[in-house]
């Protein structure tokens, strides 16, 4: 039954009948990576200091959104408290810098580790099936928020932490927004690349299978609990990475940035971008950070508009921006190939 290997190891896919749609999709994903990251770098640079500030914000949320996308859009594990992990990353890093006197890198490492730890904690709840897990993630978000708001001795309570030291790398302190931007975008690209690689190949298929039908996935030998745990921990860690850089943007953090609204925001980001799409997560982050800036006078209506956007997107554009882009690309390709298709 086991087929003989016709291709020697290392020869790659070249000798095998090529052109399968999944291979095409994989190749396209890397092209999209370049395109999206290129835009992420170019646009803020082109629009001046405010653009760079926005770019930093977008990058932070994009990293967290990628983590959420892996959990929700691909593995089907809906998490309603993702802002909590950005909070753990933020506060963890800032506190490590301020209370332990660590420089940014080890401090961030601690913050991300803490987020990952939180992820492990939350992953214990995967023993609870479906619905229960979702509500438990919401509860997790509430618990973290109330802890950071009320544990004043540790976190400064509602006022939060101020005068957070800037990033120091190899003796140089990053004083300029531009420098910060470069650092965050590099991290974003790294996170994106690693996540993309994870979704391709055997592990990626396992995660997709879990997202599609858990019973069937388990029946073909996939260790569903193990993979769920992995994706949750990784996704939460990414949330922590995004959060670790947030304090650097303004020099202070407080609980207001990590409420239920922020968790919803992250969910809307991945929905608008397209559930299951990594570039969609980044695009969604960009849209949902930039658009409110230009609708400042409508700030009162912000959450209302977000809610309506979410509902409308789900009804009319269920595959999000990424889905639309895909359709466009397919349509162009089809018209190029001519009528004989």
């Amino acid at each position: 039954m086991t087929p003989e290997l016709l291709v020697r190891p290392g020869e790659g896919l070249a000798n095998v009948r090529a052109g399968y749609s999944f291979e095409l999709r994989d190749r396209r994903s890397w092209q999209t990576l370049v395109a999206v990251c290129g835009l992420m770098v170019a646009l803020p640079l082109a629009t001046g200091p405010f653009g760079i500030y926005l770019g930093c914000t977008i990058a932070c949320y994009a990293i967290a959104a990628i983590g959420l996308q892996l959990m929700v859009g691909i593995a089907g594990q809906l998490s309603l408290g993702h802002a909590a992990f950005m909070a753990i990353g933020s506060y963890g890093t800032a506190l490590a810098q301020m209370r332990l006197g660590l420089s940014f890198l080890p401090a961030a490492a601690l913050g991300v580790l803490a987020s990952a730890g939180g992820g492990i904690l939350m992953a214990q709840l995967i023993r609870l099936s479906g619905v229960y897990f979702k509500i438990a993630t919401f509860g997790f978000g509430v618990i973290v928020y109330q802890l950071i708001s009320n544990w004043s001795s540790l976190t400064g309570g509602h006022t939060g932490l101020t005068r957070i030291p800037p990033i120091g790398l190899a003796g140089l302190t990053i004083q300029s927004r531009l420098g910060l931007f470069m650092v965050i975008v590099t991290v974003l690209v790294l996170a994106y690349v690693l996540s993309l690689r994870m979704t391709q190949g055997r592990a990626g298929r396992a995660l997709l299978a879990i997202g599609e039908n858990e019973a069937a996935a388990e029946a073909i030998g996939i260790n569903v609990s193990g993979y769920k745990m992995s994706v949750i921990v990784f996704g939460c860690a990414l949330g922590g990475v995004g959060g670790a850089f947030l304090p650097q943007l303004t020099g202070f953090i407080n609980p207001d940035g990590f409420t239920w609204s922020e968790s919803i925001l992250l969910l809307i980001m991945i929905t608008i971008g397209g559930l299951g799409s990594l570039p969609g997560a980044v695009i969604g982050a960009a849209i949902l950070i930039v658009v409110p800036e230009y609708l400042r006078d409508l700030a009162e209506y912000k959450m209302l508009l977000f809610g309506m956007l979410l509902v409308l997107a789900l009804i009319f554009m269920p595959r999000g921006v990424a889905g639309l882009a895909n359709d466009l690309r397919n349509a162009l390709r089809a018209s190029e190939a001519g009528p004989s298709r």
């Binding site: 809906l78 214990q124 509430v142």
Partner: protein, 288 residues
């Protein structure tokens, strides 16, 4: 401590009402309705509006009016937003996000319509007290408990003796066979949803005289979620039990640890209980 326990019981009943609505919708439609808490808020506001128009309206009529209003609202919501999605076999994630979005629109829409400031029911009921020796309990507590008991009896009657109730149970048990027997599953879903909305609104009206009404009351709904889960999701008596458990745990925890941590305590209780008994306290919860 005693007053904390009693208020926990009263709040628990409110949670229980909303939780029943959750469980009903879940059993009938397989849908986790994250907007249920905002329906509670809507019901409370409907009641407020009724009182604004007719300040002398008796409390029970306000209750009825608000419930009916919410029921009508729920009808349109289910018909035009939810049913198409369920029919398309939309995935769980999609449906949850949809109801989340609806909830956000409802709460923020309410903020636009009724303003961002909390409002109160300006009725004598707010101040009435019943005395037992040297303990004075707010009258609304009694309304709540009595109301919940009446509603439970009503639901019991509906589910065991009326055609509507039997159809709902049939659909919840086995939609395919129900369909084969000529039952319209989509009508049953609509009915379940409408009843759930009415329950949620009633809960809101029960809650209002005790505290206040504001657009962000929806959080209560999510705690009711925890209640439904604790009792066993999909299990109706369990929903009430769960509500009481959460209500009391929250009240007692608030006294012991601090009221600012009350929400956390509610959810932490839920998480701990679930880890011990994954199918809910009454053990007959549905695994989603």
């Amino acid at each position: 401590m005693l007053s904390a326990l009693i208020s926990g019981l009263a709040i628990g009943c409110v949670y229980g009402l909303v939780a029943i609505g959750f469980s009903m919708v879940f059993r009938a439609m397989g849908l986790v309705n994250f907007a249920q808490g905002d329906i509670l808020m809507l019901g409370a506001f409907f009641g407020f509006t009724i009182l604004t128009w007719v300040p002398a309206m008796p409390y029970l009529l306000v209750l009825l009016g608000a419930s009916l209003g919410a029921g009508v609202f729920g009808f349109f919501l289910e018909r035009f937003l939810l049913r198409p999605a369920v029919r398309r076999h939309a995935g769980q994630t999609y449906l949850v996000l949809l109801t989340l979005g609806i909830g956000i629109v409802l709460s923020n829409g309410a903020r636009l319509v009724w303003g961002a400031n909390p409002v109160i029911y300006n009725i004598p009921l707010r101040h009435e007290l019943v005395r037992f020796g040297d303990v004075a309990l707010p009258m609304p507590y009694f309304y709540i408990v009595a109301g919940v008991v009446v509603i439970l009896l009503l639901l019991q009657y509906i589910f065991t003796r009326t055609w509507v109730g039997l159809t709902l149970r049939a659909v919840a048990d086995d939609p395919q066979s129900a369909r084969l027997m000529g039952i319209s599953v989509s009508n049953a879903s609509t009915t379940a949803f409408v009843i759930a909305c009415m329950l949620g609104a009633a809960a809101g009206v029960f809650y209002a005289p005790l505290f206040y009404v504001s657009f962000d009351m929806g959080l209560i709904g999510v705690k009711a979620f925890a209640a439904a889960v604790v009792g066993g999701f999909g299990n109706l008596p369990g929903a009430v039990v769960g509500g009481l458990v959460i209500g009391i745990a929250e009240a007692v925890g608030g006294v012991l640890i601090g009221t600012e941590y009350q929400d956390s305590i509610a959810f932490a209780t839920m998480i701990v209980l679930l880890l011990i008994r994954p199918r809910g306290l009454l053990g007959k919860g549905v695994a989603a």
